[in-house]
Amino acid sequence: MNEVLKLLTEGERLNESQMAEILGMPEEVVNEQLSTLKEKGVLLGWIPVLNPEADAEMTVRGVIEVKITPEREGGFNRLAQRIARFDEVESCYLMSGSYDLLVVVRQSTLHKVASFVSERLSTIEGIVSTATHFMLRAYKEQGFLIEQPKEDKERLDVSP
């Protein structure tokens, strides 16, 4: 994996100049690499990972299992893209197993998620069925533990 990308994915808050310092390359090169990664579609974007409960606007998260009929040309892709384009959809994956698409939706209320499913999602031609589950509580979000005992990382100042 590209060095800049590796450093990025480690989850520390570093600006481009700090990254340049750590990697031993000029800042322009770091920026250039970031642009290239974006162009190639490797780096999709930057969003900080937030505690789901802290975001007042989007506290309700629904995980919807969607069954769709695959099409002659393109299989599941066309429908999946169509669903994924909705702003309400945070993530959309094709899954193996008893259903086809896993769709993650975030809205401010339960009602809004439910309406999205019944009015927008279910009505799409090709959708066979949906099963909606609501997230009750988050313990870990994208690699970050949410509630953990305060880590006592006190080391002795000097040790041999």
Partner: protein, 417 residues
């Protein structure tokens, strides 16, 4: 009026009445340079410490979880003196897989309370009073004092920056004197980051066979080798029967506080060490032993992840030191950089003291690790990026204030040696 001689005798008498309970050879132990420095730092606030000889990572969760499970299961008893058979098997398998050395788990492995204990019982098991022990200088602070505590005599071997602090066979031969029974080698080395060079090690091995030396090889930093492959002296002809191989979980698996180490050696030597161990320690903590099994069997990926982080930090600090005018070789292993601070015109201790006072950055003076450490300072880069970046800036400021010229960054040639 009291004569100076009598005054001296009187002083001694006063001293003696406080110290008279303490054994002579303990009074004779030199005061630890690290301890002194620690006391200086302890009183200060907001110090960025680059003097920490342990990882800044917490032990990976799966290892901690194994220990918790062990406690839940009620494993709270003594184990066999040699350590649980399960752990000895795990050790034997691990050493075979990664070091290509076969040790029998029943008779050739002993689990100890940290590698420090392994070194201590090894020396106490092999040294007769007055026996001489060769060891590299600079080196880990404990080696020489432990030799002294075992009533041995330490014989230092010079290592230097020109050879990136590897141990040179010529220097070993030069330092050898009649009466040398053992040779302690620590490669990769704390504090210098020096690693073994195959050809040198091969010749040292031949010399050890020729002089019938017993070798104690502390390879605790082996996994944290960035460039090239770690070489163990045990792999050379005639060495397995005369080497006590020391290793443990502290550095690569970030388990310093767990106190888990081990020694692998021919059965007779293990038996001897066991005699000392059984009376002084009995056994290492059963919880730590269970955790170590998990670490050795399933910890490889975690080690690689940590190593990658260290490597990146190494590149950063070594580059910065060289840029600011402190010549620093690129350590091929460990999380220590050992820059030469002579360009400041200060002694190691003065450098460390003044850097601490003026810029609140702590680096351990190289002289704390031996006579040949004078002129150097040890930088532990086992710490977070923000601290490292800030510390480098502060050190640069300090060094510049002493008139040291910064080198024009030729970072490419310095980074990839």
């Amino acid at each position: 009026m009291v004569s100076p001689l009598t005054q001296r005798k009187l002083n001694l008498f006063v001293e003696n009445s406080e110290n008279r309970f303490v054994a002579d050879h303990v009074i004779g132990l030199p005061r630890s340079g690290i301890r002194d420095f620690f006391e200086l730092v302890a009183g200060m606030k907001d110090v960025i410490s680059l003097g920490i000889g342990e990882p800044d990572f917490t032990t990976p969760w799966h290892i901690r979880e194994a220990a918790i499970y062990s406690i839940e299961k009620g494993r709270t008893f003594y184990t066999s003196n040699l350590g649980t058979l399960e752990l000895r098997r795990a050790i034997s398998d691990y050493i075979d897989q990664y070091f290509n050395i076969k040790y029998d788990s029943n008779s050739e492995v002993i689990v100890t309370v940290g590698v420090s204990e392994a070194m201590d019982i090894a020396l106490r098991a092999i040294l007769n009073p007055g026996d001489k022990v060769l060891y590299q200088d600079p080196c880990f602070v404990s080696y020489h004092p432990t030799v002294m505590l075992a009533h041995g005599v330490g014989v230092p071997i010079k290592t230097d920056a020109e050879s990136a602090f590897t141990i040179k066979a010529a220097e070993v031969k030069k330092s050898w004197v009649p009466g040398c029974k053992a040779l302690i080698i620590n490669l990769p080395c704390n504090p210098t980051g020096g690693v073994a060079e195959r050809d040198e090690l091969e010749e040292i091995a031949r010399f050890a066979v020729e002089k019938d030396l017993i070798v104690i090889s502390d390879e605790i930093y082996a996994e944290l080798t960035y460039d090239g492959e770690h070489v163990s002296i045990v792999n050379f002809p005639g060495m397995k029967e005369r080497t006590i191989f020391l290793h443990g979980c502290s550095k690569a698996w970030a388990m310093t506080g767990w106190r888990l180490g081990y020694a692998c050696a021919p059965a007779v030597l293990i038996e001897a060490m066991m005699k000392v161990h059984q009376y002084s320690m009995m056994c290492a903590s059963i919880i730590a032993q269970d955790a170590a099994v998990e670490a050795l069997r399933n910890g490889y990926d975690g080690v690689q992840k940590m190593k990658q982080q260290y490597r990146r930090r190494r590149d950063l600090v070594v580059r910065r030191f060289n840029e600011m005018g402190l010549t620093c070789h690129l350590p091929q292993a460990t999380f220590y950089a050992f820059p030469n601070i002579e360009s400041t015109g200060l002694s190691s201790v003065e450098f460390a003291k003044q850097l601490l006072e003026k810029e609140k950055v702590a680096m351990v003076p190289g002289s704390a690790f031996g006579e040949f450490g004078e002129g150097f300072a040890r930088c532990s880069f086992a710490t977070g990026y923000d601290d490292l970046l800030e510390a480098c800036n502060r050190i640069e400021r300090f060094v510049a204030s002493l008139g040291v010229k910064s080198a024009v960054a030729a970072s490419d040639s310095i980074q990839k040696i």
